[in-house]
């Protein structure tokens, strides 16, 4: 077992925390549970914000979670360079916390959608995607009702110009602008994506793909080599 410690956050209503912790372990790192109500990051080397319906998604997805005591620690740490990956509800929380630009809105179909989604990885220069090569096509599940990425035209232009679009859909499932499935901040340490890498890490269960493992081996390698 590597000494690399990846925190996995549980808010009330978080659903994919066990899955994320298992994926972290399968990649060879140590998963450290982080509790929303504590002002304590437990000295982790990176943080995974899993999917779910934190606080029931009441008011707006992620709108309440961003004010959790743990987030008061996480937000400054992320701004100082702590690697953070938010998937699905985690991505929504990162946007609500203004750690990433833009917002996730109701799918264009107005239906929740769960499917195995083709994607293309565009950037390998984040600590979460270095195991991929730019242009690599992968399959991960998406499962969300509010995954349509939107941003102001100038924000979108800046994301594209700055190479901050990390992953795009091949066959847009939700009407996201520019087929955006995942983005990073300018520094590159914070990544948010709608698809679920933690559900595509084993042959036996989950999506018919193990492409998700790359996100977890990426962070492990980056932490070990840091």
């Amino acid at each position: 077992m590597s000494a690399a410690r990846v925190g996995v956050v549980t808010f009330p209503g978080t659903l994919d925390d066990q899955d994320a912790a298992r994926a972290v372990r399968l990649a060879g790192a140590q998963a450290v549970p982080l509790w929303h109500a504590e002002h304590d990051l437990k000295g982790v080397d990176a943080v995974f914000l899993p999917g779910g319906f934190s606080y029931g998604d009441y008011l707006r997805c992620g709108a309440i979670s961003r004010f959790a005591p743990l987030m008061e620690e996480l937000i400054p740490a992320a701004r100082s360079g702590l690697p953070v990956l938010g998937t699905c509800n985690g991505f929504q929380i990162l946007c609500e916390a203004h750690l990433l630009p833009g917002a996730l809105t109701r799918n264009a179909s107005l239906h929740y959608i769960c499917r195995d989604q083709r994607l293309v990885v565009e950037r390998d220069d984040t600590p979460w995607t270095s195991a991929f090569r730019p242009g690599q096509e992968i399959v991960l599940p998406v499962k969300h009702g509010e995954g349509r990425y939107v941003a102001a035209p100038e924000t979108l232009a800046a994301l594209e110009a700055g190479g901050q679009v990390v992953i795009r859909y091949v066959g847009n499932p939700n009407g996201s602008l520019n087929d955006i499935a995942g983005i990073r901040n300018e520094a590159g340490n914070i990544v948010g994506l709608m698809p679920h890498p933690e559900h595509a890490v084993e042959d036996l269960v989950g999506a018919p793909s193990t492409d998700g493992l790359g996100f977890f081996t990426s962070i492990l390698k980056n932490l070990v080599n840091a």
Partner: protein
């Protein structure tokens, strides 16, 4: 006027009480008076009326349901049988599974989204109250004709309700079924199933022993939703005024339910729960009477302590409220601080509302006055029992005489296959299932459109010893078969679910059922019910799988028009090594395709007769249970020996649809040839059949295994290519199959 109380009731024995408005018959009301030796208070009347409703008391079905116990096969796997919140089955290595299916039909017609959502919520709490972690859900849905206007209102709402509640709860939806028939217009069926997992030595029961132990109500607060839902909604036939009943449908909060799940699991782990019961139909009335009746026998409750969402609620309303996401626990006084601390950690409100006594009486107070004082068992267990008259429907013989043999058979089998494949009942249900999260918790080995859902169990809970085992679940039912012959129809429902579990490689172990029928006050409906129960009980004995629990839903009728009798059967199976599961369909090129089982000319109640001729008559396929048993033995053994690469059960639409679905599963075609009459070979719906795809070198071993179990095994051809080819009969490119199969539901529902 102050609240009616026991003292006042004794002083005013002749005051008229609104028992009829609450759905009680005069003789039932008289029995309450006899039990109490006085008239009931309004609160007592509320309790008896709801506990003695059809929904809670099974008063019309009890005499028949006894057969599930009296005819039950010997099973060492059964740990908890009927009568608890859900049955529990030993699945090996110290693990137990608990599962149950339950209807939420009437609420789903009145308010499809909330009706279906709270159906999921209710069955999940049943599973939680056994001490288990809920691990997956499934659902069996029936709607009116696919093109009927009201189906466009009901179906999207029901799917959205299941989707929202189940997804938000973090439970994978791993299967189920959806079908359409005009007989369900106005009476859609929403049957929700949940399965949970627990250690064998950690089963919790609904009981309140130990005088002095505290009664804790925890979860959501109590509001005016669903008041009278159990007795009014679930037990009365719909007439035109149904929209006036809208407030009687409960409103769900899946976020609170998710907190309750995690909170309960921590409470169990801390061993601070003596007994537990969920609050479902009949709310506080049901939980207090049942807990008290199964415990030391008495309980004192101060209803003023129940946390209210609406402070104007009266005690009768508090007793009948079906507010969701509530549980009741019995806790030793010394464990109360630990119990409360865990609830606080999960932001779950919890309140001590009373304590267990040894008085044999359930006593409730309101502002210091005694408003309830009853022997709890009389409400919970000693409700009325009816031997309702039954008689074969007048038109049954004529219906059975109207054989499908008279129907004109098609010349163009290619067109017939496509017509069936695109028909609403056989079309892809992806429009529905893609709205459900099938991946959450990452234990899903198989999910729809596989024949059965399958889960690994080793990773479900932290700290438990590893096991290679997995569980499989399937749920099936065919209302047309049951209409033609309810005895055989119930057996065919069991046979199909049993077979669907076996094709994945899992050994069928136990049964749950949801029996959906019209009014039990109609002798012809009662005949259908009696026949279906008898058929199912007999079949369970033959197949060696006990019924562990279930649910009866009567009054699924509008005016005099009842739904087809619709017994829906769920089967749970176990696979010793989950890595040996058999995937659905043709999973690779170059495999031999074999048909296991015998094909007879059986078209009564078939999809072909339904879709092409709009015909329902004759007799359903024979339910050959010995053949079913042999087939399952072959499938389970073949899987454990690694002989089979892919499989698929044959059911609605026969071999033609099974071949098409097997090709669509992974986009791998096949070329097969049939001997004998091609139409019968392709479209007959004979039971006890399955398709398998095996490696060339395994074929002889499979054939030998089949011979040993006396299961016919026919080599049909090989997999490969991009078309389904039935030599000398038809050739259809997979892309054309896919467009036909997947286009129908999106075109209907957007």
């Amino acid at each position: 006027m102050s609240t009616d109380n026991v003292k006042r009731a004794a002083e005013t024995p002749d005051e008229p009480m609104p028992y009829a408005e609450l759905g009680m018959k005069l003789d039932e009301y008289d029995r309450v008076r006899e039990i109490l030796g006085r008239r009931p208070t309004s609160s007592e009347l509320a309790i008896y009326s709801v506990m003695w409703s059809e929904h809670c008391s099974y008063k019309s079905s009890k005499v028949h349901l006894k057969q599930f116990a009296s005819k039950a096969p010997k099973s060492e796997a059964l740990l908890v049988g009927m009568g608890e919140n859900a049955g529990v089955v030993d699945i090996g290595d110290g693990w137990a599974a608990t599962f149950k299916i339950e209807s939420h039909n009437h609420p789903s017609y009145v308010e499809p989204h909330q009706g279906a959502a709270t159906g999921v919520g209710g069955i999940v709490r049943d599973i939680m109250s056994m001490g288990a972690r809920p691990i997956a859900v499934m659902d069996a849905l029936r709607f009116g004709g696919a093109t009927q206007d009201d189906t466009r209102r009901v179906l999207p709402g029901v799917v959205e309700g299941i989707s929202h509640y189940g997804n938000c709860l973090g439970l994978p939806n791993i299967g189920g079924e959806v079908s359409f028939d005009p007989c369900y217009i106005g009476n859609p069926l929403v049957n929700a199933l949940c399965v949970g997992l627990l250690r064998k030595d950690q089963i919790k029961l609904a009981t309140a022993p130990g005088p002095g132990n505290k009664v804790v109500l925890f979860g959501a607060s109590t509001g005016p939703d669903g008041i009278g839902g159990a007795s009014v909604l679930a037990s009365a036939t719909f007439e035109e005024e149904s929209h006036a009943k809208r407030p009687a449908v409960q409103v769900g909060d899946p976020f609170m339910e998710k907190l309750l799940i995690e909170c309960c699991l921590e409470l169990y782990a801390a061993d601070v729960v003596v007994g537990i019961q969920d609050l479902g139909a009949a709310g506080v009335s049901c939980a207090t009477t049942e807990l008290a009746a199964k415990g030391t026998g008495g309980m004192n409750v101060d209803l003023n302590l129940v946390p209210l969402r609406d402070p104007s609620l009266q005690p009768e309303e508090i007793l009948m409220s079906e507010s969701q996401e509530r549980m009741m626990a019995v806790v030793a006084p010394s464990d109360i601080p630990a119990f409360m601390a865990i609830c606080r950690r999960w932001d779950v409100p919890a309140t001590v509302i009373g304590e267990v006594t040894d008085t044999g009486r359930l006593v409730m107070t309101w502002h210091g006055e005694t408003i309830v004082d009853i022997p709890p068992g009389t409400a919970a267990d000693e409700g009325p029992v009816y031997e309702r008259p039954y008689s074969e429907p007048a038109g049954q013989a004529a219906l059975n005489a109207d054989s499908a043999a008279r129907l004109e058979r098609p010349g163009d089998l290619r067109a017939t296959l496509l017509e069936l494949l695109g028909s609403p009942n056989l079309a892809s249900k992806e429009w529905v299932t893609s709205q459900y999260d099938r991946y959450v918790r990452s234990n899903t080995v198989l999910a729809q459109p596989a024949d059965a859902g399958m889960l690994r169990i080793s990773e479900v809970m932290d700290g438990a010893e590893p096991t290679t085992r997995g569980i499989a679940l399937a749920v099936d039912g065919n209302g047309r078969y049951a209409r033609l012959d309810p005895y055989a129809g119930a057996q065919l429902a069991l046979a199909e679910a049993y077979r669907n579990v076996a094709v994945t490689g899992a050994k069928p172990l136990a049964v749950t059922n949801c029996l959906n029928f019209g009014s039990p006050e109609d002798p012809e409906v009662m005949w259908q019910f009696a026949e279906a129960v008898r058929g199912l009980a007999d079949a369970c004995r033959t197949l060696g799988v006990p019924v562990t629990g279930g649910n009866v839903s009567f009054y699924n009728q509008t005016g005099s028009a009842a739904i087809h009798p619709t017994p829906v059967v769920g089967v749970l199976g176990v696979i010793d090594d989950v890595a040996k599961r058999v995937r659905s369909g043709f999973v690779a090129e170059g495999l031999r395709v074999a048909l296991l089982g015998e094909t007879k000319e059986e078209f009564g109640g078939s999809e072909w007769a339904h879709v092409v001729h709009g015909h329902l008559g004759g007799l359903p396929p024979e339910a050959d249970l010995e053949a079913e048993r042999g087939l399952a033995a072959v499938l389970v053994e073949a899987a454990s020996q690694g002989l089979v690469e892919g499989s698929h059960d044959l059911s609605d639409g026969g071999l033609a649809i099974a071949l098409a679905e097997a090709c669509l599963a992974q986009g791998v075609g096949a070329t097969v040839s049939l001997s004998g009459d091609a139409f019968a070979g392709l479209f007959s719906e004979s039971s006890a059949r399955a398709l398998v795809a095996v490696r060339e070198e395994s074929f002889d071993a499979l054939a030998a295994l089949c011979a040993r179990h006396e299961v016919p095994c026919y080599g049909l051809g090989v997999t490969g290519g991009s078309s389904l080819v039935v030599e000398d009969v038809l050739e259809i490119p997979i892309e054309e199959l896919r467009a036909t199969h997947e286009g129908t539901l999106p075109a209907l529902f957007g």
